[in-house]
């Protein structure tokens, strides 16, 4: 028995003496987790994407969450795409994506596949923990029955827990270890085990939620709150535009109140804020409540790409720029600044609207390989943009690299008359024609 982990109390579950952890899913969430745990236990970092596993073995992390040195010094971590490598593990942590489909419904395919994989190897004394963001009930209503098809009972033969991931991609200060982590378990015993396990790696501390469903709910609530707050800023930006007020001037003034929350208008993409609220909406509707406010926020945030593109074409016309002959440049394609993450990027909506209207449209993003953008978003990237060439430049994603080159550089890419639309008010206002 591992006394530290098990707490030494009366136990119906028989936890193994030596933990061997398998992290299923080597993405933004799983990789940092595997790297942290391998300092304490042998870890298998499993992913069905063989290319990703090859890269990690070669010390390359395209998500930029881990350095080459960190990968190469992880002696206790085996990267694998071979299912048999997980057979010897006794703690399984699921960090697979939980995206939405084209109809904005939860796509639980990856979590089901991962669960079925684990069920095939599940033994008495094992532990299964989910980190993927889900709606309340998924762990117990969907995953638990699948795991129990192994013949083992959750809470009796194996431990079941949920500990929502809080990885903030591209955040160099708040990493896995210094973000407090919620833990939960099916039984008191499961909860204690899960909490003790994470306490080994989370310096910021852990928080035991009242139940798995409470922990599941807490996670979607966090991102629904951010989504609604950004939606409010977008709604205000639309109202300000109708009234010829500059949104950032209004927000700067409001921001002088002690309790004003400094959200900004903008595109909401990515794998979290633009996705998780749909999980909550899905569950809410299933239990009989139509969540007006959250749905309203989603609708606004999803409409902003098209809103911006419409505004851009209207302003080009007002400035006598011939839209159908115009050269347009979009700066930045990722869902977030200083991050190569393309998932669910809403810059695509601007591109999609404009591509059928304007003369030419280039997208420039030095953080992204064109092949990745083509694969993920169907958008090819241009090289270094030429000078004196564009009739409209949209600063979509203000990477530090763009900001270091500055508004003068952006202006140097323009021929006259030109429209510079700075979505996030990142450039010097005097050199910009319009912000959101």
């Amino acid at each position: 028995m591992n006394q530290t982990i098990n707490g030494g109390g009366a136990s119906s579950l028989q936890f193994p003496a030596q933990l061997r952890i398998c992290v299923v899913g080597m993405g933004y969430v799983g990789l940092p987790l595997a790297l942290a745990f391998q300092q304490h236990y042998p870890v298998v970092g499993f992913d069905i994407n063989a290319q990703r596993i090859e890269e990690l073995r070669a010390g390359i992390d395209l998500t930029r969450e881990a350095t080459s040195a960190e990968l190469q010094s992880a002696n206790n971590l085996l990267f694998s795409a071979a299912a048999e490598d997980i057979a010897q593990c006794n703690v399984y942590i699921v960090t697979v994506p939980t995206p939405i489909d084209l109809s904005h419904q939860p796509d639980l395919g990856a979590i089901i596949s991962a669960t079925e994989l684990i069920a095939g190897y599940l033994q008495a004394g094992d532990t299964v923990i989910y980190e993927s963001t889900v709606y309340p009930g998924v762990t117990q209503e969907l995953c638990q029955p699948l795991l129990e098809q192994s013949g083992h009972k959750a809470g009796k033969d194996f431990a079941l827990g949920y500990s929502p991931e809080r990885i903030n991609p591209a955040d160099k200060d708040r990493k896995l270890k210094n973000i407090m982590k919620i833990t939960s378990g099916l039984t008191h015993e499961c909860a204690e085990f899960v909490d003790a396990l994470y306490s080994k790696i989370i310096v910021a501390g852990t928080f035991k939620a009242a139940s798995i469903r409470t922990a599941e709910m807490a996670k979607v609530v966090e991102n629904a709150q951010r989504d609604v707050n950004i939606a409010l800023m977008n709604e205000l930006a639309i109202i300000c535009d109708h009234m010829d007020l500059r949104t950032y001037e209004v927000l700067e003034a409001a921001g002088t109140k002690w309790n004003f929350l400094p959200f900004k208008p903008g595109l909401v993409g990515g794998h979290c804020i633009g996705v998780d609220p749909y999980y909550l909406i899905h569950k809410s509707q299933r239990v009989g409540h139509h969540p007006d406010l959250i749905i309203s926020g989603r609708r606004i945030n999803n409409s902003m790409g098209t809103y911006i593109a419409r505004k851009v074409t209207r302003m080009m016309t007002q400035r006598d720029i011939e839209v159908t002959k115009a050269n347009v440049l979009i700066l930045g394609i990722t869902f977030k600044e200083n991050c190569p993450d393309l998932r669910n990027s809403k810059v695509v909506d601007i591109h999609r609207y404009l591509v059928s209207m304007v003369g030419t449209i280039d997208v420039y993003d030095p953080l992204v390989r064109s092949a990745d953008s083509e694969h993920e978003l169907g958008v090819s990237l241009a090289g270094e943009p030429p000078q004196n060439h564009y009739d409209c430049v949209i600063m979509a994603v203000p990477h530090d690299e763009f900001l270091q080159r500055g508004a003068d550089w952006v202006r140097s890419l323009c021929r006259q008359p030109c429209l510079v639309y700075d979505i996030k008010s990142a450039l010097v206002p005097a050199l910009v024609d319009k912000t959101l």
Copy 2:
């Protein structure tokens, strides 16, 4: 010329050498303002409510914003309900209420009356500043033309400004002087004058907004943000109830994330958060945008009183408490804890729903005079509640006085079976049957 105020720059406006300030409206906003300014200038504190003026002269402030000592030592302040007393003033600051009517439309009656009063006395060199919360455009589109009926032109003959109030009733730490204040003016010269004037009394500093409309917008945005955030918590509370999750446990877990915002579900009443968003909605719709999110937030927040009352009757029935014979007690009637302010209190909605269903219903609030509650809300107050008498107690407004007596006291008022509904999760959870 008052060089300090005027800044000594080139001026088309001729500001008077000696400022004499009139604050129009002696409520929560006007009284602290008059008290602050009278330390620097002679001030007339004007209100059309003669009884309020009598009380203030006698050293009594029923809003509890000023102490008797503060009122009696204000030697440079004349309280008056007589219009002729404002004639000698040259700076007019309007702090009258801007409520909504029964259809949730802005009721600008008081601001129009105040403006017409001032217009009757307006002279060249005077200044008019509005502090009342309004939608963007009211100062310039509604008030300015009324003032100019005096024959004087705004920005040329008299100065016009807007500086939104940020008074937080019952907040003992954040008072007028230590809350940063937004200022604005019709012209650069007006803006400078208004800013210098407030700089005399605001220790926390002033912020010059880009324009009067920017300042007007900033104010309604602040309160719309709070309103939407509380609405989200209320929507989550409704979803949690459908799923048998305890909202406060979910919010406590989510609150362990560094950027989670600690709002709570509850009733949204009062003169600001439950009102100001309607001003923004009104203007938004007038300029052509239907603000879905803000409207959705209002709808949820307005529905919570009835939602709670429905839940209470359902739970009473489930517990075999005969609703039509039940004695129900509501603790607290004000819109906010530890504050006698009754304006727009939503506890009334609970009362209204229950009064036609239950046997008896008492409302107890030691901070409020029954006559005031009858006048403002149409609800009479009961005296000290008897022991062992109630079948349901609703802790609606957790005044400190209630919390000091504690959940045991609340329970002692009950006979069995009893339902204790604690709207704001203010009591010990173990002694409470249900929270929002």
